[in-house]
C-alpha cells in the first residue's frame, strides 16, 4: 500500500440539509437520538445496581440524586426515550414484514409512535407515583 493512488474526488450525494424536513424523517432521527440517549442512560442503571450492591450509604446517595428535581426529570426523559425507541422498534418490525410502507400508513405509524410514547410515559409515571404514595 506504499504507493497507493491519490484519492479521487468523487461527487457526493446531497446530505440532510438539502431536504425539506418531513415528519417521518424527523421520527427516524428521533429514533436514533433516543437510542444514543438510552445507550448513555445505562450508566444510571448500572449506578443503581452497583450502589445497591455496595452499601446503604451508596444506595441512599443514588436515591437522593434520583429523587431530586433534576434526577426525576432525567428519569422521566429516560422513560419517554425508552418507550419511543421501543415503539419505533415495533414499527421497524412491521417494515421488516413489508407492512406499513403506504403514504398514509407510514405517517399514521409515525404519529402513533409519538402519541403512544407520550401517553404511555405519563401513564407509567401515574402508576409509579400512585403505588409509591
Amino acid at each position: 500500500m506504499a504507493d497507493s493512488p491519490p484519492r479521487v474526488e468523487r461527487p457526493l450525494s446531497p446530505h440532510l440539509q438539502i431536504y425539506r424536513p418531513l415528519f417521518t424523517m424527523m421520527m427516524s432521527i428521533v429514533h436514533r437520538i433516543t437510542g444514543v440517549g438510552l445507550y448513555f442512560g445505562t450508566i444510571l442503571l448500572v449506578w443503581w445496581l452497583l450502589a445497591t450492591a455496595t452499601s446503604r450509604g451508596a444506595y441512599d446517595t443514588f436515591m437522593w440524586v434520583a429523587g431530586s428535581p433534576i434526577g426525576l426529570l432525567v428519569l422521566f426523559g429516560f422513560t419517554w426515550a425508552l418507550l419511543h425507541h421501543a415503539l419505533g422498534g415495533i414499527r421497524h418490525f412491521m417494515w421488516d414484514f413489508i407492512y406499513g410502507f403506504g403514504p398514509k400508513e407510514r405517517v399514521l405509524l409515525a404519529k402513533a409512535t409519538l402519541a403512544g410514547s407520550v401517553v404511555l410515559t405519563v401513564l407509567l409515571w401515574i402508576v409509579g407515583l400512585a403505588l409509591k404514595g
Binding site: 448500572v46 445497591t52 429523587g67
Partner: protein, 132 residues
C-alpha cells in the same frame, strides 16, 4: 464478528457475489432484530421491577433484586440490551465518523463501554443475590 471456525450469516446472493467489506452485515441486522425482540419482552418485566422499586428502602431493594426470578430477568435484560446497543452505536459511528483511525478507536471504545456496562451490572446483581 467472524472468528475462526465461525461462518458468518450471509444471504445467498451475498455469498455468491462475495462483495462487501465486512461480510457480516446480515448477521448484524439479524442480531439487532433478535435482541430488539428480546428487549421488548424483557422491558415489560423490567418496567414492572423498576416501578416496584421506585423510592424503596435499601432492604426492600436488595430483597427484590435478590429474588432469583428478578435477578435472572435483570441479567437477561443486561445481556440483550448491551448486545443491542453495541450494534446500534456501531452503526452510528460508521455513519458519522469517516476518519479511519478515529472510527476504529471509537468502535473499540464502544465494545469496551458496552462490555463494562454488562459486566458491572451483572456483577452487582449476582453480588446482591448470593454475596450478602
Amino acid at each position: 464478528m467472524s472468528s475462526s471456525g465461525h461462518t458468518p450469516m450471509r444471504t445467498p446472493l451475498g455469498r455468491v457475489r462475495g462483495l462487501g467489506s465486512a461480510h457480516s452485515g446480515t448477521e448484524h441486522f439479524f442480531l439487532q432484530r433478535v435482541t430488539a425482540l428480546a428487549n421488548l419482552l424483557l422491558m415489560i418485566a423490567f418496567v414492572g421491577i423498576v416501578i416496584c422499586l421506585a423510592g424503596s428502602t435499601y432492604e426492600h431493594a436488595r430483597s427484590v433484586i435478590g429474588n432469583p426470578l428478578v435477578a435472572v430477568v435483570l441479567l437477561l435484560t443486561l445481556l440483550s440490551v448491551s448486545i443491542h446497543m453495541r450494534l446500534g452505536m456501531q452503526v452510528v459511528i460508521e455513519d458519522y465518523v469517516h476518519t479511519e483511525g478515529t472510527k476504529v478507536l471509537l468502535i473499540i471504545a464502544n465494545t469496551f463501554f458496552t462490555t463494562a456496562i454488562a459486566l458491572a451490572g451483572a456483577f452487582a446483581i449476582i453480588k446482591i443475590s448470593v454475596g450478602g
